[in-house]
Symmetry: C2
Subunit: 281 residues, 2 copies
């Protein structure tokens, strides 16, 4: 049932504004899924007709063998774009140690189709991607290290990434930075809220150079801020649940908790006030 | 080769001061091993003749299905004592969410032999075990929640754990607190440095009420502080490598890095100054 919901959601997203789908990121609760669950769900998505080229497959494991196994499986079914967390258990490790982790991963995945996107999300993973690491990786694996999802929440970091690295796809991890980042040369954004609001983001993406862009950004911000008052993943799922009259959509895995009924009602009322279009799959 | 080294080391530890072995903790680099590697190594340890009752099997996964799979495997081969990390990827989660994670784990493991030891190591995992969580777990699973390894590095936390929870095995995560904790009623300690210095710890453990105890503690502290000048895991392995004339012992997995030759030499010289007995397996 959850898989069915995920498939319907994936198709709805592609039809409603998403150019690509970052499956198995933080909002996907990928770290709460076993390796086998991730493989089966990815197969189901690809078999349902979503083009593998559209997929950015989250691959976060602190163990190289697990990361290699997931990447090889994804590559086997045509998915070459992977979004890599750093090995996030260990703290205070050196740039060289982190480099060695990715170098071993890339070498053992051993596939020229592999395109690695770095997943920089220090508020959650704690371990991030310092510039020295990105430089070292790009210098050694120029054809593999394709881009970064910058979920630092620090626009100055996004700005520097765009300014310092050419031929590198930079995606802020929040649409709050979409317009400002596009003006500097960003590729787009990869955002949790895109799960329910991608159409408006795509509209800004296509019209960022127009006079209406700032107002579009402002509307996006209002929706995002409304969701941000609550734990994001639970809030997104509560809205999907209500919009589709499906209790299963509220499911989150521990240690996350569902949004309460009371909070869901306030969230819906506030979204209604913003004329937000509910995501009916 | 690495497995052979681990087995020889396990037997040496049991013969040189360790009452139990916490396999697959942080120093074991358990989070750098795949699930399958952990299973195979645990089987090898048990098959080599180490009693399962002596083993405390580290089980740290952010995904309940993986944690259940590891625990069921351990139980199948007679290992009921597991050392559980919290699901450490997600930050800012509620006590209820963390409780739900452990409750689901215990229910799905579904074995009355299961004894859960909580692995509190906030400097690394970031997510820890607040007292409210421990209370809630003990109240619901009184026969399962057996103890805690307190690697907070905060002796006040250890003191409170001993004072507030009766019939609960409290192990500070460093022998630096061994004497002080034993005086308050701790069960022992579970420490990285025990990998090379367990005999001296056992000696203090057996003589903590004697007049020599403070001096024994002081000697333990000197050795620990010497190791702590370096990344602990790499330093322990460097010393095991030199003591056993085996380069394989220096191996660490990325993102960790080996200790340099220069640092190894200084470390050895300093240990020699302390009349430290090298761990010859």
């Amino acid at each position: 049932m959850v898989v069915m919901g995920s498939i319907a959601h994936a198709h709805w997203l592609v039809e409603h504004g998403c150019d690509g789908l970052a499956v198995f990121g933080t909002t996907s609760e990928a770290n709460s899924l076993s390796l086998l669950e991730r493989k089966r769900l990815l197969e189901a998505i690809v078999n349902s007709g979503i083009s593998p080229a559209r997929l950015l497959v989250g691959n976060g494991s602190c163990a190289v063998p697990d990361a290699v196994e997931l990447a090889k499986h994804a590559l086997q079914i045509g998915c070459g774009n992977v979004l890599m967390l750093p090995p996030f258990y260990y703290k205070s490790v050196s740039v060289e140690g982190l480099f060695d982790f990715f170098a071993e991963f890339i070498d053992r995945a051993g596939d020229p189709r592999l395109q690695v996107y770095l997943y920089h999300i220090p508020p959650v993973a704690q371990v991030g991607f310092p510039f020295a690491l990105i430089e070292k990786l790009r210098s050694r694996f120029s054809n593999v290290i394709a881009g970064i999802k910058d979920s630092s929440g620090d626009f100055e970091n996004t700005r520097r990434l765009i300014a310092e690295f050419s031929d590198f796809q930079v995606f802020p991890g929040s649409e709050a930075f979409l317009l400002a980042a596009l003006r500097l040369g960003a590729t787009g954004c990869i955002s949790a809220t895109a799960n329910v609001n991608a159409e408006s983001m795509q509209q800004l993406f296509q019209n960022w150079h127009t006079a209406e862009a700032d107002e579009m950004q402002s509307t996006l911000n209002c929706v995002r801020q409304t969701f941000q008052r609550y734990p994001m993943i639970a809030a997104l799922k509560a809205v999907l649940s209500i919009a589709n009259n499906d209790e299963n959509w509220r499911t989150v895995r521990a240690p996350l908790s569902q949004l309460s009924d009371a909070d869901t009602q306030i969230l819906l009322r506030d979204l209604e006030g913003l004329a937000f279009k509910l995501p009916r799959l």
